[in-house]
């Protein structure tokens, strides 16, 4: 479960307000899609949830724990995939996965089983022994995802996870996301692909100028926007200014 309570974040000593008193809740078992135009505050929000950025005001709770006061406890139950797969290029894929397994304390038996499963799913078996610097953008994205899935956390936070993935891998990821939430896990992800959000999300939040412009199920959003057409139309209507 993720709860944001009146969370704000500014840059340039308050001159640029990236996130403005944002309040939302993502319940267990729920896939929450976070949409918004470029620069709306999506990545800033995500970075605050996972502890990369510190909010100026407000509280963020992960599994009921404050992510600033009990940072390690919340990090232990969260896996994050950034929008850019910037990872240690000089390590091999397997060394990276071992590092992630070590710091999250994943037991060897679970590690082996999960790594095998996800390498197979993402077709990385041949590349995992090579340095990450030899990987394409999509392969890097897949090794970061494998690292996140290896942890099997209660909460996933993914920033545009589909970018760079081939259709088969994107399909595998969507299946994994659904399975994770069906088991009671929480998933918060941002995307620009409306079709993905429309088909995958239990609830959707649209952020605009750092504020939550709308939130709810697709049906609820349609009612709010007085539009029964696609999510794309709703998005365009809510973010036109």
């Amino acid at each position: 479960m993720i709860e944001l309570q009146d969370v704000s974040k500014s840059y340039n000593k308050g001159a640029v307000r990236a996130v403005d008193r944002l309040t939302l809740t993502v319940r267990p078992g729920e896939i929450f899609g976070f949409l918004g135009p470029n620069g709306a505050g999506k990545t800033t929000t995500i970075k605050m949830i996972v502890g990369i950025l510190k909010p100026d005001a407000g509280r963020i709770l992960v599994d009921g724990k404050d992510n600033q006061r009990e940072a390690l406890a919340t990090k232990a139950v969260t896996a994050y995939v950034p929008d850019e797969p910037e990872i240690y290029e000089r390590l091999t894929g397997l060394e990276y996965l071992n590092f992630i397994g070590d710091v999250y304390g994943v037991a060897k038996k679970d590690r082996l089983e999960r790594i095998e499963r996800w390498l197979e799913a993402f077709e990385l078996q041949r590349a995992v022994g090579d340095p990450i610097q030899t990987y394409s953008h999509g392969m890097r994205q897949k090794i970061v995802l494998t690292g996140a899935l290896l942890v099997e956390p209660r909460t996933f936070v993914l920033d545009e996870p589909m970018v760079g993935l081939d259709p088969r891998s994107a399909h595998q990821l969507k299946e994994a996301m659904r399975a994770h939430c069906d088991k009671g896990g929480t998933l918060f992800f941002s995307t620009h692909v409306m079709e993905v959000a429309e088909r995958l999300c239990d609830r959707i939040g649209i952020i605009h100028h750092g504020r939550l412009a709308a939130e709810g199920t697709l049906d609820e959003l349609r009612r709010q926007a007085k539009d029964t057409a696609s999510l794309e139309n709703i998005f365009l209507q809510l973010t036109e200014k």
Partner: protein
């Protein structure tokens, strides 16, 4: 021409980050607290510069009666140019071939020589900063003591501006040639490392062959001939003779001849580099980032064997640091390789009779009292181990991957412990290298070696923790080129200045304690206790600081 100027402008702006600095200080109003800290770091060099000026004055006074005073200029110019050539090799390699913007620049409709010229300009400006400390004091001391007119000062400025051009161009020619060959190889990293070491060894050999010891008769004959010393010192690197003769002669016909040689030589070499760049630069550059991938499917048994059984987080962080440092050629050259190279360079200098200060004291081993020898050896070992950028760039080296350190469920103090163990291991390797050299060359006995090693090892904890604290205060995470994270990182310079300054303070403190009557083994124990106290306090502070600082670092 317009295109070249635009490239130059962008290269200088992005490299020196003036726009970013201005934005941070004036618009975002961040990092203002760093300004006094940087000034303090720079102030750490003041005692060294003052001592250097005194040395130059002494040299001038000693050489003037024999008409050899121009040697002051020749030595400073030679030292400046060799410094640029030797350390420039790594620098040229990293700027010409490992800047992240190169992929973008290659795709632009500009000539390879224009791209190289923009990179050359970046190196040139940096080398002005490096050589200024060596060359400007010599020019000023000479100008004032020789009571030279305005033409001297104009020519001195010109020589200073041209001084790095020839060595950078030479380093550039060597590196461009090397990379053309390396880029066809499958093991590029290995050949880059090996090639750099070969070039460095050649440059060092050249330097020390210049400073070989001469017999007394030879030395006397040098003093009797006018400018005999200048000839000898500069014989193997003529540009430094041209430059010092130009300054010595001033605006005379002979002086103008030397100006033509020095200025013309610089221009010719630069043009040669540009010409070679047009043919070879992109051939060495394009595809350099490609690495041979085995793409061998691991069997289940292989995978099982290579999956770790679960290491403790501190060990995992240590392992990551070790691998990332040793597998990045530019980090390796500046880190572990330098702790091995520093003692070798210092000793070559010593052997060549080119030593001063504490190094000269090392030559007197066996003639001093035990406590003095132990302390001097301990300073030497500590310098060998900690005067490199490993600890002071430990956070900066993570660069854009620092987000990982912020999201993993490992406390900042534990992560810092893993990093400290890595930095300290490198420092300890330096201590061992320094100790080995002292045993082989100075026959340092166990009775003096062991306490010196212990002092150095405990001192290494303090200096490593101090250097890490400096980097943690303001890690440089947004770099485009690994060289920036370690060699051009201001944190490395600040830590270096702090360490030198503190060693001086410690030296004065020891002198004071000795004159108060504490000496011998009592003094050594007291120094050890002081260092142990400083080490414990600095480590405790570092861990607490990490807990406070990590959440505030934006990744």
């Amino acid at each position: 021409m317009k295109r070249t100027l635009a490239l130059l402008r962008v290269a200088l702006r992005s490299n020196f980050g003036l726009t970013l600095v201005r934005h941070r200080l004036l618009v975002e109003k961040r990092d203002r607290w760093m300004v006094p800290l940087i000034l303090l770091g720079v102030a750490g060099f003041v005692p060294l510069v003052l001592a250097y000026i005194e040395f130059l004055k002494f040299m001038f006074d000693a050489l003037q009666p024999a008409g050899q005073e121009t040697t002051v200029l020749t030595l400073a110019i030679l030292a400046g140019q060799l410094l640029v050539l030797i350390f420039g090799l790594y620098y040229v390699l990293s700027v010409f071939y490992f800047s992240r913007d190169l992929e973008f620049l290659v795709s632009l409709p500009v000539r390879p020589s224009e791209v190289m010229l923009s990179k050359f300009a970046v190196i040139l400006v940096n080398e002005y900063l490096t050589t200024a400390l060596i060359v400007i004091p010599a020019f000023v001391v000479f100008g004032l003591l020789a009571k030279r007119g305005p033409d001297y000062w104009v020519l001195a400025a010109l020589v200073f501006l041209l001084l790095p051009v020839i060595p950078i161009a030479l380093a550039g020619l060597l590196i461009v040639g090397m990379m053309r060959v390396v880029n066809v190889s499958r093991k590029k990293d290995f050949f880059i490392l090996a090639g750099s070491l070969v070039l460095l060894a050649a440059a060092l050999l050249a330097q020390f062959s210049l400073a070989r010891t001469r017999d007394m008769g030879e030395v006397m004959s040098l003093f009797t001939a006018r400018d005999g010393l200048v000839q000898v010192v500069g014989a193997k690197f003529p540009p430094c003779i041209w430059a010092s003769r130009l300054l010595g002669e001033g605006l005379t016909v002979r002086g103008l001849g030397f100006l033509a040689l020095f200025g013309g030589g610089s221009v010719v070499l630069l043009l040669l580099l540009m010409g070679i760049a047009e043919r070879l630069f992109y051939r060495g550059l394009v595809g350099l980032g490609e690495r041979a991938a085995g793409r061998r499917r691991l069997s289940k048994a292989d995978l099982g064997a290579r999956i770790s059984a679960g290491r403790r987080p501190v060990r995992a962080v240590f392992g990551r640091e070790w691998r990332l440092m040793n597998r990045t050629p530019l980090f390796l050259l500046n880190g572990i390789m330098s702790v091995v190279l520093v003692p070798v360079i210092l000793l070559l200098a010593l052997k060549a009779g080119d030593a001063s200060g504490p190094l000269l004291a090392l030559r007197s081993f066996g003639t001093m009292d035990a406590a003095t020898e132990i302390l001097i050896a301990a300073v030497f070992f500590t310098v060998c181990g900690t005067l490199n950028g490993t600890a002071s760039s430990t956070y900066s080296r993570e660069g854009r991957q620092f987000w990982l350190s912020k999201v993993i469920p490992v406390s900042p103090a534990q992560q810092t412990l893993g990093k400290f163990l890595h930095s300290y291991l490198v420092a300890a390797l330096g201590t061992v290298a320094g100790a080995a050299v002292s045993v082989v060359l100075f026959r340092l006995g166990a009775g003096r070696l062991v306490p010196a090693i212990l002092l150095s090892l405990i001192g290494g904890v303090f200096f490593s923790a101090l250097s890490m604290t400096v980097d943690l205060a303001r890690p440089l995470l947004k770099w485009m080129n690994p060289q920036k994270a370690i060699k051009q990182n201001l944190n490395v310079l600040i830590a270096l200045a702090l360490e030198i300054g503190l060693l001086f303070v410690l030296g004065y403190l020891i002198k004071a304690v000795r004159s108060a009557g504490l000496d011998g083994s009592g003094l050594i124990v007291a120094v050890f206790a002081l260092l142990a106290l400083l080490s414990a306090a600095s480590l405790a502070f570092l861990f607490r600081f990490a807990e406070k600082r990590y959440p505030l670092i934006a990744a």
